[in-house]
């Protein structure tokens, strides 16, 4: 036990003392913060310049009203549309749009008032948010005209047309709080961090094993202690370094959450709730993911002689992790669907997808417990197989073993 600790201690210190570790640990939270805040800031500011548009009225009497309605449309207190006044034909407007002097124009057909139809011509027709504003302006104009036709006095019309503002409020166990895109961003960011850290520390185990094998230190070591102790010590030591890094991050997240609960919202920043459950599962699912994948990485490292050789074997091992990431939009959209539940209970996917579910809406406790148990059982199996491959492979030099050969190691060692 003391020797296992010595191995783990060496691995831990070796990693923690490196510059890369310091760099990654400090940079991580900064990146995290940037990832969470910047998209939100960019989202709200990116629409930037107001659109230059014109109105082409075939109905005859709506142009002035619509132009006023368009000018009224605001985004965060800024007008979204600059109207190009004056009459024009369809041909000249189209030419102007093509030449870029105009962003687009709204065409009101002659039957607009009767059939509630209008057309928007523009170079860019995928700016959904702007189109929604145009839609609203046309609608206001039409309704106002109909109301006044029905005898409603002009003064009341504006009042009746007051647009709706839909706020989204997220309800959690700890209370309700306004939430725009924060939760989504936080969930995705944290999941991506889990993904990269599991990969990164797994890779660290891989290159550590290859270095040991390549420099032949391993022969001295296995003449002193059983390979199982070397294997376990290595996984624990490197994992300890990873955990340290993650705890630093978790702590900064917790501080961020503390800040968000207080000043953040009033300062206009879009910060989601960071719950203890979220922080706890971040650590737990990192550990599960790490041990699952690092054990496989260690076995691969033992079976090969160089990093290059390892790449071919790494690919099949990583496939589940990559697949897990690909499913994240579906899981985030409906975290309680049957698909999400099933996927999050598949052990190689659990570390990412169960965590993602927890970050969106806490799933039933039994599902969390079941997923952890299943993953632990899988880890036990993987470690058993991997340690056998490791034991044989670590002293094998020369040609890279074939897959059947590796299977033979597992059976016979």
């Amino acid at each position: 036990m003391r020797r296992l600790a010595a191995v783990a201690r060496r691995e831990f210190l070796e990693r923690v003392r490196s510059k890369a570790f310091l760099f990654g640990t400090i940079l991580g939270p900064i990146l995290l913060g940037a990832l969470m805040l910047v998209p939100g800031l960019v989202m709200s500011k990116q629409r930037g310049k107001a659109l230059r548009i014109a109105v082409l009225d075939s109905a005859g009497s709506l142009k002035a009203d619509l132009e006023q309605a368009l000018v009224r449309q605001k985004d965060d207190a800024d007008a979204r549309f600059v109207l190009r006044p004056g009459a024009a034909t369809r041909e000249t407007l189209e030419a102007e749009v093509r030449e870029g002097r105009l962003d687009g124009y709204v065409h009101l057909p002659s039957a607009t008032l009767q059939q509630s139809v209008a057309e928007y011509y523009g170079q860019n027709v995928s700016n959904v948010l702007d189109l929604r504003l145009i839609d609203r302006a046309v609608e206001e104009t039409l309704i106002a005209r109909r109301l006044s036709g029905a005898g409603v006095e002009p003064g009341r019309i504006q009042e009746l047309l007051k647009p709706l503002e839909l706020k989204t409020i997220r309800i959690t166990k700890r209370g309700a709080r306004e939430d725009r895109r924060g939760t989504f961003l936080l969930s995705v960011t944290l999941m991506m961090m889990l993904y990269t850290t599991v990969l990164m520390w797994g890779q660290a185990v891989l290159s550590g094993v290859i270095e040991e094998k390549g420099s032949r230190v391993v022969e001295v070591i296995v003449s002193s202690i059983p390979t199982s102790q070397l294997f376990a010590g290595k996984l624990l030591g490197v994992g300890g370094a990873g955990l340290t890094q993650l705890l630093v991050w978790t702590l900064s997240l917790a501080l961020l959450g503390f800040y968000a609960a207080g000043a953040g919202t009033t300062a206009g920043l879009d910060l989601p709730e960071i719950s203890p459950l979220l922080l706890g599962s971040f650590v737990v699912f990192f550990l599960l993911g790490y041990f699952l994948y690092a054990a496989m990485y260690a076995a691969i490292g033992a079976a090969v002689n160089t990093i290059q050789e390892a790449q071919n074997l790494v690919f099949p091992v990583l496939t589940p992790l990559v697949v897990g990431v690909m499913f994240f939009p579906a899981v985030i959209q409906s975290p309680d669907s049957r698909l999400s539940t099933a996927l999050s209970l598949i052990p190689p996917l659990t570390p990412l997808l169960m965590f993602l579910r927890i970050s969106v809406v806490a799933p039933p406790a039994w599902q969390i417990a079941l997923s952890i148990l299943l993953t632990l059982a899988t880890i036990a199996g993987v470690v058993w197989v991997a340690s056998r491959i490791y034991r044989v492979g670590i002293l094998m030099y020369g040609k890279r073993p074939t897959f059947p050969e590796i299977l033979r190691w597992v059976r016979h060692s």
Partner: protein, 301 residues
């Protein structure tokens, strides 16, 4: 240490075949053989790094690879240290793996660094050390936990003459303190100076073993060193001459059993100017060459 009827094969290739050896406590034992004879495989099995396919290995009265291995020091043929780790850290770590508490190892370390001329290098990374220094560092790694048995695979390779002398002195010192030394080598001079007993193996099979004196006696006292001026080509065709090895300034002549060296002296004196004539034991070097080439001839015949 006792090895009984041990065999080991790799993917159908026999590395060691029904090998039996015994090494007495406190002695210095040399395991000799040409490259690929199975020396390293044998030592690895003794260390419990790999298991034999059949047979039994006991070290210090216990099965190989078990609890005895803390009392054994091992320097593998392929030297290996963590390249980017500080020398000091590394040696303490390796001693810790042998069950020596860190403070204890740290207390012993300076004396060993000093003894092997590595003082002041403890805080350097291993990859900053020269090859000879790494070799000495590897040696310290094998003795820092104060083992009773020391197994050294090619201890002299990679050392310059000064380093080799130093190493030999240190080994003799350890032997005098009662440690059992087991070394593999094909540097016969080293073996001859250090070892009490030897075994010669070739292609996984033991060719001979016993004390150095015994082995020499068995290979006859009938060896003559002859230095002369003139054309000595006829010497090989004289009756009773089994083998001649030419060392340039002199030749070593092995006579068949029962041949009287005096006859050879008379013949030589009659036809050459003899400046030296000496009855000698055959060197291990000659025995090695003779047995190994003889073995190869026997096998190919």
């Amino acid at each position: 240490m006792r090895i009984s009827d041990v065999s080991k094969a790799y993917a159908g290739l026999v590395a060691v075949r029904e090998l039996s050896l015994g090494v007495a406590r406190g002695s210095v034992f040399g395991l000799l053989g040409p490259n690929g004879a199975g020396k390293t495989t044998t030592l690895r099995m003794v260390m419990g790094i790999i298991g034999p396919d059949s047979g039994v290995i006991e070290v210090l009265g216990r099965p190989a690879g078990g609890s005895a291995r803390d009392r054994i020091g091992y320097m593998p043929e392929e030297r290996g240290l963590y390249p980017r780790m500080l020398l000091e850290e590394q040696l303490l770590f390796l001693a810790e793996l042998k069950g020596t508490p860190r403070p204890e190892a740290a207390r012993r370390l300076p004396a060993w660094l000093e003894r092997l001329g590595l003082s002041g290098w403890g805080r350097r990374k291993v990859n900053e050390l020269s090859k000879g220094m790494q070799q000495k560092a590897q040696f310290i790694a094998s003795v820092l936990h104060e083992p009773e048995v020391l197994i050294l695979d090619e201890p002299m390779s990679g050392l310059d003459p000064v380093g080799a002398n130093l190493m030999r002195d240190v080994l003799l010192e350890l032997s005098r303190r009662g440690k059992t030394l087991i070394l593999s080598s094909h540097q016969m001079e080293t073996v001859e100076r250090l070892c009490d007993s030897i075994a010669l193996i070739n292609r996984g099979v033991k060719l001979l073993d016993g004390s150095v004196a015994d082995v020499k006696r068995r290979h006859g006292r009938n060896s003559v060193v002859l230095a002369f001026e003139g054309d000595g080509a006829f010497l090989g065709s004289l009756p009773g001459v089994r083998r001649i090895s030419d060392s340039g300034r002199y030749v070593e002549i092995q006579l068949t059993e029962g041949t009287d060296p005096q006859g050879l002296l008379r013949e030589a004196a009659a036809r050459l100017r003899v400046s030296r004539f000496e009855l000698v034991e055959p060197s291990l070097h000659d025995i090695f060459i003779e047995r190994v080439t003889g073995d190869a001839d026997g096998a190919s015949a």
